[in-house]
């Protein structure tokens, strides 16, 4: 018996490998492979039907780039065994309904497309597919639903039409035309307030940046005008027309979209990224135009390849470069456009930013003769278009480019960009170059960058990072803390205890003291202690961390109010202002060790003394990592509190049912759970307060700028304004899921109708993302 079981497993494994691998490179033709496989499966159906259906279903969802290979296989199986075809359709429909209910829209999209292509393989009756599409389109007539809902259902239909349009046109022309008209009317009345928030470039020059549904609609209209003929989709079933024609077809059951509820998270809208057109491709095959359906199909196909291989960058590169119709299209250009399209996607890229960097390096390695040139051309174009590029994207561009350079010895034709050294430093181009230098320096070292870039760029190269310790500088003698600072330095060097350190700084006078009231913090103690400690630990991150850890109690004691914490941050800035990375890392540490609070960091970043730093990228690196830290903390406490509550409830139910509760299982007491919930409420309030502080400060500085410009009759649209207004936009987008929770509060407290329209507009665009 044992042998039987393992034999079964062997066969099942073999089936799985046969099915998942069909359509890969092979010595024989795809058609003969499919035919052979269909026969094998037919023979195994009596014993392994359930297993086979399950594997096929997985292939539908996990290998969407081989969709037509599998529809053909299902078609051949259906021709041989009608019941098996029917069972598969049933299974697929069940999973589609489930996916729509649970909001798995990505797989739902794939399944809709698969069902559509099954019409081509004579598995499904055309009319029944059209009925499903009609049900989807009817969502556009529902009252009081968010636009993202109807958008998704329309998108699901449109994105399947390149596969099945021709068949519907031939078999059901009248009904199909009717559907076309309904979609047309929907498209023409959609709101697009959200679009500006999602655009990579504010201008439509040289290429229009279209809203995704508008763009796909234009492509579909073109396809229709071409009598639904396209040139990209591989259709293996055409070779089996004779066999498939004989097969009996199934009618799809009614598939009605589950009704809307507040919990559902529909996919956010997008703007289609366009960087190249055919004139950018020097020779070889022509790049399909932006409204050609082939452009959509190829991009979609590349996106799907990335989606199924992004975890293995070598496989991903190999799969992208062996694209099926690679000789008929300018593949490298299309890959690069798709990769940057994802990297710049707003609110966030689908995968980790470093994936794109690492993948592009891999692609360069595999195609050393052509990929680096295309990438250089793309970089050049992105640079040329910086002036209108969204700040979040400029930041990602700088992060990617510095990383890329670090893998290619920092070689670049810098001279071509030397014009940027002659203009206002706050303009996007010089700013970008400065930030790239800073990031390159962080990945290598100061001298290396100095030696690498041309003389003319010297003014944009950052200062050499160094700790600045004022108590050892010339003129330190006249500072009130110098003597104590030196004493403290000696003591720390000879390994004093934290208590001994406290004793040394105890006698420092408080500059805030006066006769009337006792100040609530002591700037001089903070200054002397923190700067001395940081200076002594300045050798490396580890040294600094060790110093903070050892004297944690002193730092915590000194910074027991928000003003004190802000002063501590000010001191840190004074010591490390030439070493941005050190500031980023140290503030991260101070937050993690709870020496400073998130709100103190935010207030400090918006403070007057940081105004010279305000448009530098590191300030925003700190801001966003602070917000993220806060939300991680909230998430953690929320999870703990919920789990404890669940455990308590479960134990109570067991007791109520007269069951003994398990002695071993630790049951949290009611008080303990309540304490956890109280604590959660406190941090949730802190989080809300953090967002309120940030948005309020944004409104203050922007309003100030706008009214100052107005009273002086200046143009408000300065470089500074661009950085700041788009940082506001970024604060919404980067943390969109959280900010959405507070939208009501923000609307009633901060983004009220009396604030300047330029600021209000950013808020409204954000709100429109999900409405």
């Amino acid at each position: 018996k044992h042998r039987r079981v393992s034999e079964n497993i062997d066969i099942e494994d073999r089936l799985e490998s046969l099915i998942t691998r069909v359509g890969e490179k092979s010595t024989s033709s795809l058609e003969s492979n499919l035919e052979g496989l269909a026969s094998v499966l037919e023979a195994d159906l009596p014993n392994y039907k359930q297993k086979i259906l399950k594997i096929l279903l997985e292939c539908v969802i996990k290998l969407p780039e081989k969709l037509t290979v599998y529809t053909t296989l299902v078609g051949l199986l259906n021709a041989k065994n009608y019941n098996c075809g029917g069972e598969f359709v049933e299974l697929l429909v069940r999973h589609l309904k489930e996916a729509l209910k649970t909001g798995e829209y990505e797989s739902a999209l794939t399944m809709v497309r698969f069902l559509a292509d099954l019409v081509n393989c004579h598995v499904i009756v055309a009319g029944s597919l059209l009925a499903m599409f009609d049900n989807f389109i009817e969502v556009t007539l529902e009252d009081s639903i968010p636009q993202v809902r109807s958008d998704w259902y329309v998108y699901a239909v449109l994105s399947a039409l390149p596969w099945v349009g021709r068949e519907l046109y031939e078999k059901k022309e009248t009904e199909f035309n009717k559907m076309h008209l309904s979609i047309d009317s929907y498209i023409s009345k959609r709101q697009k307030i959200h679009a500006p928030a999602l655009r990579v470039w504010t201008t439509d020059h040289p290429h229009p940046q279209e809203e995704y549904l508008d763009c796909l609609w234009a492509q579909i209209v073109n396809l229709k005008n071409n009598k639904w003929q396209e040139k990209h989709i591989l259709r293996p079933y055409l070779a089996f027309d004779g066999v498939l024609c004989e097969a009996l077809q199934h009618a799809l059951p009614q598939i009605i979209p589950p009704s809307h509820n507040e919990e559902t998270n529909y996919p956010l809208p997008r703007v289609i990224f366009r960087m190249f057109d055919y004139t950018d491709v020097p020779e070889g095959p022509v790049l399909p135009g932006s409204h050609a359906i082939e452009r959509y199909l190829i991009e979609d196909h590349l996106n799907r390849i990335i989606h199924s291989t992004y975890l293995e960058r070598k496989d991903c590169a190999a799969a992208l470069l062996s694209f099926p119709s690679k000789n008929k299209i300018p593949l490298n250009y299309m890959i690069v456009e798709v990769m940057f399209g994802q990297l710049f996607q707003l609110p966030e890229p689908p995968y980790l930013e470093i994936f794109y960097g690492s993948e592009l390096i891999e692609l360069c390695k595999l195609q050393p003769g052509s990929m680096p040139q295309v990438l250089a051309q793309a970089t050049e174009m992105l640079y040329e278009r910086l002036d209108t590029m969204n700040v979040s994207c400029i930041e990602r561009f700088a992060n990617w480019f510095s990383y890329h350079l670090s893998n290619f010895q920092f070689r670049w034709s810098w001279e071509d960009w030397s014009a940027c050294t002659l203009v206002d430093r706050e303009l996007p181009k010089p700013k970008f170059v400065q930030e790239v230098f800073i990031k390159c320096m962080r990945l290598s070292y100061h001298q290396r960058i100095k030696d690498t870039v041309p003389e003319s760029f010297t003014s944009l190269i950052p200062e050499k990072p160094n700790a600045y310790f004022k108590y050892e500088m010339e003129g330190a003698g006249s500072l009130p803390g110098t003597m104590i600072a030196h004493q403290l330095m000696q003591a720390i060097k000879s390994k004093c205890t934290p208590e001994e350190a406290v004793a040394i700084i105890k006698d420092l006078p408080n500059p805030l003291s006066d006769d009337d009231n006792e100040p609530n913090y002591h700037p001089l103690r903070i200054d002397v202690f923190t700067s001395t400690l940081l200076y002594l630990g300045s050798k490396s991150f580890s040294h600094s961390f060790a110093a903070i850890a050892k004297f944690h109690f002193v730092l915590k004691m000194l910074s027991d109010s928000e003003e004190a914490q802000i002063h501590l941050l000010r001191t840190l800035f004074e010591v490390w202002k030439t070493h941005e990375q050190m500031m980023v890392v140290l503030i991260d540490k101070l937050l993690k060790t709870q020496i400073v609070d998130c709100s103190a960091v935010a207030s400090w970043l918006f403070s007057n003394e940081m105004s010279t730093e305000f448009t530098k990228f590191y300030v925003w690196e700190i801001m966003h990592s602070t917000i993220k830290k806060m939300s991680k903390h909230v998430e953690k406490l929320q999870k703990e509190a919920e789990e404890a509550r669940d455990r308590l409830e479960a134990a109570r139910r067991r007791m109520a049912d007269g069951l003994d509760y398990d002695e071993d299982e630790e049951m949290p007491s009611e008080e303990k759970v309540e304490r956890m919930e109280e604590k959660l409420e406190i941090v949730q309030n802190q989080q809300k307060r953090l967002f309120l502080i940030i948005f309020q400060r944004f409104i203050m500085i922007l309003t100030d700028h706008l009214s100052r410009c107005e009273s002086k009759g200046h143009d408000y649209n300065t470089p500074w304004y661009k950085w700041v207004i788009e940082r506001l936009q970024q604060a919404f987008l980067l943390h969109h899921e959280l900010v959405f929770k507070y939208i009501q509060t923000l609307e009633s407290l901060l983004f009220t109708s009396d604030i300047d329209f330029h600021i209000l507009e950013i808020f409204q665009q954000f709100c429109a993302l999900r409405s």
Binding site: L311, E312, R313, L352, E353, I354, F355, G357, S358, I361, N399, Y403, S406, N407, Q409, K439, R442, L443, S444, Y445, S540, F541, S542, F545, Q581, M582, V585
Partner: protein, 101 residues
């Protein structure tokens, strides 16, 4: 034991990084590896005798997934012009920072 070792490796959030130059600093390593996730700590490998960096380090993340990202995207790319290698490690213990002297 060997299975114990394998179990630890499967749960580990720590990577061993090799083929660094002797001059590569903790700061550079932090810059690169923090692009994959939040770093808990970096321990530089030191020469037993001279106590100077000797071409390897340990990077510990807070979450397994972040370490996996580094394995996926940083392993085999360059830092300071050297192709660096990342490997799973069972976790740093005091004393392991010293390489052969």
């Amino acid at each position: 034991s060997r299975t114990e070792q394998e179990r630890l490796l499967l749960q580990s959030c720590t990577l061993y990084i090799g083929n660094l130059t002797f001059f590569t600093t903790e700061e550079q390593i932090h810059e690169l590896f923090s692009r994959c996730g939040d770093i808990k700590r970096i321990v530089m490998g030191l020469d037993k005798v001279k106590k100077t960096p000797c071409g390897f380090c340990f990077v510990e993340y807070y979450a397994r997934e972040e370490a996996e990202n580094a394995m996926r995207y940083v392993n085999g790319t360059r830092l300071d012009d050297r192709i660096i290698r990342t490997d799973w490690d069972t976790g740093f213990k005091e004393g392991r920072q010293y390489g052969r002297g």
